[in-house]
Symmetry: C2
Subunit: 401 residues, 2 copies
Amino acid sequence: MSVQFARRMCQMRPNTIREILKVTERPDVISFAGGLPAPELFPVAGILAATERVLRETGSQALQYSPTEGFSGLRESLAEEMRRRHVAAAPEDVLITTGSQQAIDLAGKVFLDAGDCVLTENPTYLAALHCFEAYEARVVAVPMDEHGLIPEALADCIAREKPKLLYTVANFQNPTGITLSAERRAAVYSLAVRHGLLVVEDDPYGELRYAGSAIPPIKSLDTEGAVIYLSTVSKTITPGLRVGWAVANREILRKLVIAKQAADLHSSSLDQRIVHRYLLDCDHEAHVKRIRLAYRERYSAMDRCLQEHMPAGFSWTHPEGGMFLWVSCPAGIDTNELMREAMQQKVLFVPGQDFFPDASGHRFMRLNFSNASPERIRQGVHRLAEVCRTALSVEVASANK
Amino acid sequence: MSVQFARRMCQMRPNTIREILKVTERPDVISFAGGLPAPELFPVAGILAATERVLRETGSQALQYSPTEGFSGLRESLAEEMRRRHVAAAPEDVLITTGSQQAIDLAGKVFLDAGDCVLTENPTYLAALHCFEAYEARVVAVPMDEHGLIPEALADCIAREKPKLLYTVANFQNPTGITLSAERRAAVYSLAVRHGLLVVEDDPYGELRYAGSAIPPIKSLDTEGAVIYLSTVSKTITPGLRVGWAVANREILRKLVIAKQAADLHSSSLDQRIVHRYLLDCDHEAHVKRIRLAYRERYSAMDRCLQEHMPAGFSWTHPEGGMFLWVSCPAGIDTNELMREAMQQKVLFVPGQDFFPDASGHRFMRLNFSNASPERIRQGVHRLAEVCRTALSVEVASANK
């Protein structure tokens, strides 16, 4: 039988990174491709203790259906966490989602009709693009520099495109590692309010700051209900539990809940209670500090090794946190081609192209530094630098012909 | 700031049942409203043992990101389970979803453009209607009788509506408890193939048969890739873990995976491994047998008590499994009004109306018998019968005026 798929399925591309990840579990391959946290830092003992307590003390509730909004205890913990992040939020302002990925999808579901315009950074998080494509939105990329979105460019885009929604990763952005400055956060917020633009502020990495000082989220400025703030425990506790959350005003939250009812009824009752218990019983702050230290060491190893070995003409960002570096290659290099050679040399990265809504950006590559040890990072950068050097000499040779 | 929601959000109603559930946790209220399994039958000890083993032996993997398709071990177990259900399936034919609710949503996402027609039973599962509404589909209800969907009526609907998809709960349907007969399964399948209609066969209750003998699913007939089969561990192990699955041909599964990547990346790694380990280490079959016995006892208690106490003119279905009875009230009774009185008397049910795509069916109510003990069931039916008797006498009095 021949089946006819929905129109959106012709637009939705498979997530290249997840495709790459599937084939890269060979131990001799050094991967900078994924966005995986370091598994050796997972608080397995703390999770185990939390789980045992949850199942022993509240087994039936932890395994039963639960409210779509989320487990009330966890909503309270996360409201408190939000206050630590300079956002005044009550438990009723928090919706628990199946990872923050689901929250992006729900925002799309709640706000986007086919043809609506969504603004994003250029480049932006790949799987957010997929969400917006699923609602047949028109994604328009706003230029950015080393301080993030450029407010003047944003103003132009708003005037020209009449967008419904702006999607931004303000801290240590995926893929570039760039952070939106405090001044620009204020500018973005005021533009949003002035033009009735809804901001989806996705903040998976904010807690992973290992240099500089924290900048309050755009949501902390939000007196008008213009910002939906998303976060997750994926990068600070573990991603396998799929616990993310959204903070929004009540009217919006209500619609997100209705959309979530249809999407999966509710997120895992057990996972929610494990995270809640873990936050109560374990020293989460000390744990996050350990992750920050480890990632800082990994970032430094990568940055230093790139400096020592990459040929001239390559440059990269210097993020103050998060999990990614963004490398810009000299003209003539196509990172899709480079990737093929890199795979031969057993080192992986993600070619930049997929992160650009317009599929430009073939001169860039994203490197993840959270998932490999400093030693493996040095080995991998050696291999990568060698691949780049070869590509460059081929390029120069062909240019000289 | 005033926000403008997507068109679909004007159509999507909140799930009434989940709304009712939120307010019914008072111990003096007897609820037949939810669709909750009996929590006292949850295999808490087995789940705890499985979890301990998973975290001790494979903690890092169980807490890391995992493939969208699902944990390979669980896909293998479920492929085996499918063979027990007379469906030849390889692990690669199985997609793990965040409850089977997500699988319904993904089917909508993959197949439905705005305006496309979906056929359902009349009445049907409420939250499936919500999924289809989210894709702005046009839902058309196919008449059914005590043997399920009527093939002649289905043929008429196909000819008239050119539907893309048929959604059916073939075993112990929600809300009616009715099972599609073997002959009709064959008829439905052959109509589907003949007309290029995709069948979404949702089977959450099939394992809960306490009388009669099992009928192989429509999927067991599927040589043409016309059927997407959905199931879940929610009713046989626990719903709080949110582990469901879809079985479909490779082309369709591939698209479901792409849609799921955008929806939540993957379902909880931990939950998947817990279910996998539980199925390996525990006597699942004996456990399901215990549930069947308990539910048979509860069904009998409800059926007998209804017979003894309901006034003349009320009738109900006699399902051979599942969790629901469907009560038909005499003309003049509106179960929405009845519900208000029942709430006063501290007994709850779900009024029929919401289960009908055309919001007809105000003469019906759905009663759940899995969640209360036989003793509580008898108490609740007493209260309900009293409410019905009063409503009936008011109705007769006003008709005599």
